[in-house]
Symmetry: C2
Subunit: 200 residues, 2 copies
Amino acid sequence: MIRLLLAEDQALLLGALGSLLDLEDDLEVVARAANGDQARQAIETHRPDLLVTDIEMPGSTGLELAEWVREAHPEIRVVILTTFARPGYLRRALDAGVRGYLLKETPVEPLADALRRIHAGERVIDPELALTAFDSKDPLTERERQVLRLAGEGLSNAEIGKRLHLADGTVRNYLSEAIGKLAAENRIEAYRIARDQGWL
Amino acid sequence: MIRLLLAEDQALLLGALGSLLDLEDDLEVVARAANGDQARQAIETHRPDLLVTDIEMPGSTGLELAEWVREAHPEIRVVILTTFARPGYLRRALDAGVRGYLLKETPVEPLADALRRIHAGERVIDPELALTAFDSKDPLTERERQVLRLAGEGLSNAEIGKRLHLADGTVRNYLSEAIGKLAAENRIEAYRIARDQGWL
DNA sequence: CAGCGGAAATGACATTCGTCACCTCGAATC
DNA sequence: GATTCGAGGTGACGAATGTCATTTCCGCTG
């Protein structure tokens, strides 16, 4: 019996997927979590074999969760299950030692099979992503990321500066560098590119 | 027996939810569609009692689908099932005569109940949204919406002008009006506000 | 200690944006 | 035929943004 813990913030999917996987003879959903923090607690109490987690959740993300699991419970295998085919996400996930990275495009049966294979020791990466994995890596510095995130929310240079305790000229510089590195025309395009790559 | 058609682009949710609803004694999923166009065809062939559809899908959206159903098959009841609690979406859905508007936050059982009630003639709106429904309505003109959409993708005034066959000064004017109407500081903020309201 | 490199800042400059008042032209209205 | 109105356009002006060269201030490292 493979003991699963599901972490997913969309209640409908969490419930439906949980029930369905539970119907499989060799799978058992021992707990469900609606966010990263609940997942940590559930891990401590239930010690599942496999953690299946979404990435974008309130509280701590699935990637943070995966990193934590590797530290705290290295025997638990982590499977990422997300909507986003973003190279940066996959890279970070692999760095965190996850055993599987699957998209929500996958139908249920293939997903269940993948979970079995992962439990048996295999590593399963969605084929659509396996290729893009070693494409481009994040060229941004931490400061550039911070500035870009805020710029993407519509803040002006001055406002960004205030938030990060920087002069607005400095903000301009970081933004200019980020725009250059990403070959964008302006801050908005730069923000989109970085976000779509999973670098923010 | 209530005959359902599900339209949802996320294969995992489509599959899991479909299987689960099908297990209910009085519900039958007669067809599944991964986008709006497939849904139209499936409606023609299967004539379901209820159409349960997502909003944001490739091809035509769930809202367009709902509008089409009211024209072509007014006897079919439409239920919107979406992640987004955007007032503009709800308003447009109600204008299209949908009988239900539910969030993917809803667990499966309440969803099944809601479908039964809708089939029985009731109208079910997610309580979280029922309130916000009559808040604010879209103050934007069609031109302003177009311009804002493109601005949100990082295009400059000149580029937007080229796309829409307008002079860049005119683009500036539309954008300026939109920013004013939405009480935003700049185009990015205006874009975000409009998007979050479901006006784009 | 000298030297190097990264983080933060400054100043100058061109370009783009945001605002506003005003112009044009064609269709609908009177 | 004159008037109104709305979509689109112009021009001007200040503010914000983007680019670059240069500077200061560390903390390292040889």
